[in-house]
Symmetry: C2
Subunit: 426 residues, 2 copies
């Protein structure tokens, strides 16, 4: 770990110091050569591999403290750092190093009537604050993405993972030192004090964007109080709409996969919408498959009418992200009603239509205002890896700057460049 | 004007009603055909032309009230609506209509190893709140850009231009009605009450982004209080750096143009930086030209040493956006010191280097973190029209979502689209 800024003068002074160091480091890292950034990533990976034992020992301290505090098993599960987790961290660092460097890319460079050339250059955002809970592997993943995209990062992990995060941060510092990049390019906050977060999200002078990763309450609190822009990931209330012109087998396959492939992920389908005309043909088969997989189905009036033993869904169900083997099912008249339902109850995350009808596929793609809109594909594909980003720092459900999975490109911005040869404006 | 939402139940209820109407209208306008949006723009232009007399009469009321209130001449000047202003408004509507529609454009649609195709579709942001001062022509310009980009707009003009703005808004309503687009797609607030702005900038549920146009204090107040994201335009402290490998004639031409072509614009040069090695050759000529044009020069120690009669610049000068015929001049050692100066004192708006040196041009483009970075061209080119956007709603000095001149594309965002044929995630 780099020498911490001095914390003895109070949290606020400490945070300003951290902010200043980050800003200074960002100027250097923003112009670092790709080769040097990649060397740092590889050196960090090497350090993590070499320090496996001490990482696990540090994690053990957190696990014991967590158990003593009575943390829930699910939380302890996310907190635990195994050899396998470390191997995956190393792997993800190598993947980020292998990604093409987005910084400096020039696009749309065109001559204007005045004779100047105007184009856009992709540049780092600057300083990124990442606030996250439990999972210590976020430390390495977030640092790697920020670094490769030329940003300085200020990391604030959960207090329950303090020892694990700082052990990983020490490896990051080793990697930065070896590749001669500034240690302040990745700073892990040296305090578990809550007021540090309050300062972090309001230091517009030193921080350009905040990325919170955690539960809904964390993100809501940060969004409410932050004056620094926030790239946030709220609920994933994802829908699959099976149109009456859907192919039977594709509909079954996609609707089954979207729910059962994994339950706890944000891109899992939470509500199935199905056109009236095809519902009696498809629902009996599909619901039986869900039941066999242990999924509880909650149906609308119409669903309950022709399928027995289904729990009736209440209004709240349409608004719920279950993150569990529960599925709400609603029969709708047509695509019109499906789009209305998604617009009213959805969270603009990921929604899919299953149809063989060209016009309806085209309409759904255009009219559904979600970060990922799909035709004949499982909502589970909404993922940085599947989209080809190599890695993601989160999924944005906001509309500005970046929507959907946020990879390297989402951590950059565009500036204009103008090339002339003594041109003046007349 | 469309029938106002009911204001008798208090401002907050009124604002929620405005927000709901805007959200509902945005769903329709976001999927409107290009043809219909363009027809609306042309119909608005026709209505403005036809209503010239009543627009000028309404403006007269504002001007008289303004004079009675003792508004400053500069403010009255911005408030006045002449026949020429109306012709220019009409012209800018025609230009926006002629622009290519960015909505729905699909880019980067590529096959992934899983067999799905993943691409991005450009879509409207949703509902845009525009808060502006004095100039009534912003009413038509902002409405046109929001409309063409498929967004609903809520406009809040200055109270001093109330009558003028509402006369223009009436023409907008005529145009929307003729082309069968929802009248609520452009709402002009029916109140001059200040608390309406406070509500507007915090209605995240109904409004996706706020664009303030006005003086620094307006923008600072809005940025501080808004919970809705703000696309803001702060100072333009623009620099031209004349390198010691600059071409003499190009340096003189660009540095003269960047200051004197217009004084009150944000892309006007406010500080001239010049390399030591070329300063004694260039400064005497250039400073004489500035003086002949009536520009007051404030110089650093070194400038004052070899040029007589120059006022000494103080630290504050380097931070100042004069918007007037005043120029700060500083002699620097080299490009390194020039970039440091820009990074410390600049506002990340527009900065230019004048050089014939390939490596230094390349370095300046990469290292200067401003929304527009230029080589051998006047900073006055940083403008939506010059960059080829047809029109601009402002210039963003923020880093997220959009930097520099904001045209139609800046009023849109990107969603992911996924095209499969029954693909599931394994």
């Amino acid at each position: 770990m780099n020498k911490y800024s001095d914390i003895s003068n109070g949290i606020s002074n400490y945070m300003v110091e951290v902010g200043k160091r980050a800003r200074a480091a960002s100027r250097i890292i923003s112009c670092a050569e790709t080769r040097d950034k990649d060397a740092a990533l590889l050196a960090i990976a090497t350090a993590l591999e070499a320090d496996e034992m001490s990482l696990i020992a540090a994690n053990k301290l957190d696990m014991e403290a967590g158990k003593a505090l009575g943390l829930k098993p699910a939380l302890l599960d996310r907190l635990e750092l195994t050899s396998k987790d470390i191997r995956e961290m190393v792997q993800s660092l190598l993947e980020v190093a292998a990604c093409h460097d987005p910084v400096g890319e020039i696009t749309e460079l065109r001559y204007r009537p005045s004779g100047i050339q105007v184009g856009r250059m992709r540049v780092p955002i600057g300083v990124i604050g990442v606030i996250y809970e439990s999972r210590p592997n976020v430390t390495a993943g977030a640092a790697a993405l920020c670094l490769k995209a030329g940003n300085a990062a200020i990391l604030r992990g959960g207090s329950e993972a303090f020892n694990s995060n700082h052990a990983i941060a020490a490896c990051i510092q080793q990697g930065l030192a070896i590749s001669k990049l500034p240690g302040d390019a990745v700073q892990m906050l040296g305090t578990a004090d809550r007021s540090a977060v309050g300062d972090l999200i309001r230091m517009s002078e030193y921080i350009d964007v905040i990325i919170p990763r955690g539960g809904r309450s964390l993100i809501e609190r940060i969004s409410r109080d932050a004056t620094v822009p926030v790239i946030k990931h709220m609920d994933g209330i994802c829908h699959v709409y099976i149109d009456d012109r859907a192919d039977f087998n594709k509909a079954i396959a996609v609707a089954y996969n979207a729910k059962t492939q994994r339950y706890g992920t944000c891109n899992t389908m939470e509500t199935l919408l199905i056109a009236e005309g095809i519902s009696e043909q498809i629902l009996p088969v599909l619901v039986q498959m869900y039941r066999d997989a242990g999924v509880e189905v909650r149906g609308c009036n119409q669903t309950c009418k022709f399928l027995s033993g289904i729990k009736m869904a209440i209004e709240d169900d349409w608004y719920t992200e279950y993150l569990a083997p529960i599925l709400a099912v609603r029969v709708v008249k047509d695509i019109e009603e499906a789009i209305s339902h998604i617009s009213k109850y959805g969270s603009s995350h990921t929604d899919a239509i299953i149809t063989q009808d060209y016009g309806r596929a085209r309409r759904f793609l255009r009219e559904v205002d979600s970060s990922s809109v799909m035709v004949n594909a499982s909502t589970r594909f909404a993922d940085g890896g599947e989209f080809g980003f190599g890695a993601e720092i989160g999924i944005s459900t906001g509309k500005l700057h970046v929507r959907g999975p946020v990879g390297l490109e989402g951590l950059t911005t565009l500036k204009f460049i103008v090339i002339g040869d003594g041109h003046i404006r007349i």
